[in-house]
C-alpha cells in the first residue's frame, strides 16, 4: 500500500534520512522506532509532504507521492496525527472533526458559498461522519466543547477523530503518546489496537518503545537516518545491531 524506495533527505550536507526503503502492506500496523535524531520525524514529513526528498520515491496506492502537494495527499487517503498538527482554536470539538472530512468533500467553493442543496446534503453527511468518528474515539459527550478546553489526552483523541473523519486508507501517527500521562497512554494504545482490529492500515512512529512492541505487527528501526532492522517485534528485539545502536536496556525491559 505504501512503498518507500531509497528515500534520502539531507539538511546542510547531513543526511537526516538516507536510503530508507520500507513497505507497508494493507491492514498492517507498522511501527517505526529509533533514538532521537534517527530521522523519524523527517521520514514522517516526507510522507506527509511537508518536506521534499533529495532522492528516492514514495508510492501510495499506485500513485507517486513526491510531487503531490500536502493537501492533495490527504485526498488520496492519507491521514496524519502529529504534535505539530494541533487542533483548530476557536472551534468546537465537532467542528474540528468536521474540518477533518474536507478531504472527502466534492462540491466547490461556489456551491458552498451559495449553500446550494447539494452542498447542504454534503454538509449533513459530513456532520454524520464527524459524529461517528467522535463516537469511535469515545468523545461523543464532548462534541460541543471548545476544542482547546480539553485535556491533552482528549485533544489527541480529537486529532485521531479528525483524521478518521476523512475516511483514510492509511493513518500515520507521529508520536501520538508524547506528553500523555500513563492512563492516557493506555487508552490511546487501546484505541490504536481497536482501529487496527477494524482493518485500518497504520504507521506508528513512537518514542515509547514498549507501546510499539505491544501494538505493531512489523517494526522498522532507524538509526542515524538509516534502517538498521526491519521485522517482527521478536526479530527486532533480538537483533544485535538494534541492541547495540540504542535500545539495549529498553528492549529487554519491554520484553519482560
Amino acid at each position: 500500500m505504501l512503498s518507500i524506495t531509497a528515500l534520502s533527505r539531507s539538511y546542510g550536507g547531513v543526511f537526516a534520512v538516507r536510503d530508507v526503503s520500507l513497505v507497508v502492506g494493507q491492514g498492517e500496523l507498522r511501527g517505526i522506532i529509533g533514538p532521537n535524531g534517527a530521522g523519524k520525524s523527517t521520514l514522517m514529513n516526507l510522507i506527509s509532504g511537508q518536506t521534499q526528498p533529495l532522492r528516492g520515491s514514495i508510492h501510495f496506492d499506485g500513485a507517486r507521492l513526491e510531487r503531490i502537494p500536502t493537501h492533495r495527499r490527504a485526498r488520496l487517503g492519507i491521514a496524519i496525527v502529529f504534535q505539530g498538527a494541533r487542533l483548530f482554536r476557536g472551534m468546537t470539538v465537532l467542528e474540528n472533526v468536521m474540518v477533518g472530512a474536507t478531504s472527502i468533500t466534492q462540491s466547490g467553493a461556489f456551491a458552498a458559498a451559495l449553500r446550494l442543496p447539494a452542498q447542504r446534503r454534503e454538509e449533513h453527511h459530513i456532520r454524520e461522519r464527524a459524529v461517528a468518528a467522535l463516537a469511535r474515539v469515545g468523545l461523543s459527550d464532548w462534541a460541543d466543547r471548545p476544542a482547546d478546553s480539553l485535556p491533552l489526552g482528549q485533544q489527541r483523541r480529537v486529532q485521531v477523530a479528525r483524521a478518521l473523519a476523512g475516511a483514510p486508507k492509511l493513518l500515520l501517527l507521529d508520536e501520538p503518546a508524547s506528553g500523555l500521562r500513563a492512563a492516557e497512554r493506555r487508552d490511546l494504545s487501546d484505541l490504536i489496537a481497536q482501529l487496527h482490529g477494524e482493518g485500518m492500515t497504520i504507521v506508528l512512529i513512537e518514542h515509547d518503545v514498549a507501546m510499539v512492541m505491544k501494538l505493531a505487527t512489523r517494526i522498522a528501526v532507524l538509526d542515524l537516518g538509516q534502517v538498521i532492522a526491519d521485522g517482527t517485534p521478536e526479530e527486532v528485539r533480538s537483533n544485535q545491531r538494534v541492541i547495540d545502536a540504542y535500545l539495549g536496556t529498553e528492549v529487554s525491559r519491554a520484553h519482560s
Binding site: Q50, A74, G90, M98, E123
Partner: protein
Amino acid sequence: MNALLIYVVSGITIGATYALIGSGFVVVHRVTHVVNFTQGTLAVFGGLISYSLLSFSIPHGLAEVLAVLLTGLIGLVFAFVTIGKRGTPPLTALLITLGLSILSEGIFVTIWGQAPIAPEGLGGATVLLGASIENQRLLTAGISAIAFILLGIFFGRTYLGKGMTAAASNPRAAALVGIDSRRMGFIAFAIAGMLGGLAGVVTAPFSPISFSSDLPLALGGFAAAVFGGLSSPWLTVVGGLVLGISGQLVAGYFGGSYQTVAALVMLLVVMIARHKSLSAEEAK
C-alpha cells in the same frame, strides 16, 4: 443638537465604509497573513465601475450588484498575482499589493480620468429627529449592516467558512486534512474584493471618488482593522464606527483638515496600545 446628530449619523456612514474596507483587510489577513493594500483600490474600482455601468443605462440595483461582483473578480485577479506562487512570504505579498494599487491608479486615470466622480445614488433626504439626512447615507448604513451579518454567517456557520478559519488558525494541520490554503486565500481575496467594492459603490454617490481616493480609504479601513487586531471582524466594525464618528466630530467642530490627522492619531494610539496583543497574535 441638530449639528451633533448630523455629525454622528454621517460619522456612522463613513465608519461603515471604513468597517467594510477594514473587514476586507481582516478576511485576507486571517487566512493568508497578508496585509492587502489593494483594499482601498478595490473600493475605488467599485465606485467607478458602478458609475460606468449606470452610464451604459444599466438599471439601478443591477448595476451596483454587478459592480460588486466585478470587484470580487478583480480581487481574485489580485490574489493570483499576489499569492499565486505557493510559499510567497506575506511581506513580499504585501509589497506586491502596494505595487498593484499604484498600477491601478494608472488604470483609473486612463479609463476614468482625474476628476472626482459621483455615480447617481438614492436622491432625497429623510428627516430623522429633526435632522435631514441623505437617503444614500442611510442606505449605506443598512447595506453595511447586512453585509456584516452575511459575513458572520459565512464564517460562523458554513463549512467553507470553517475551512477558511482552520487554514488561518493552523495552516499545517489544515493542509494535512486536505484543505488547500492557497485556494482559501483566493476565496478570501475575492470576498475582500466584494467588501471593498461594496464600500465604493455605496459611498461614492455622497463622497465622490477619484484615482487618488484609494489611500485615504485604505488608511481608514486599515485603522479599523488594526483596532480589531487584524483578526476580529466585530472589533473592526467597532473601530470603523469610532473612527468615522470621531472624524466627523473633529471635522465639524475643528475643521475638515483635521479629519485625516484624527484618523492617523487614532491609528497610532491603537497600534501602540495593542502592540502587545498584536505581536502575541503573530507569535502563535
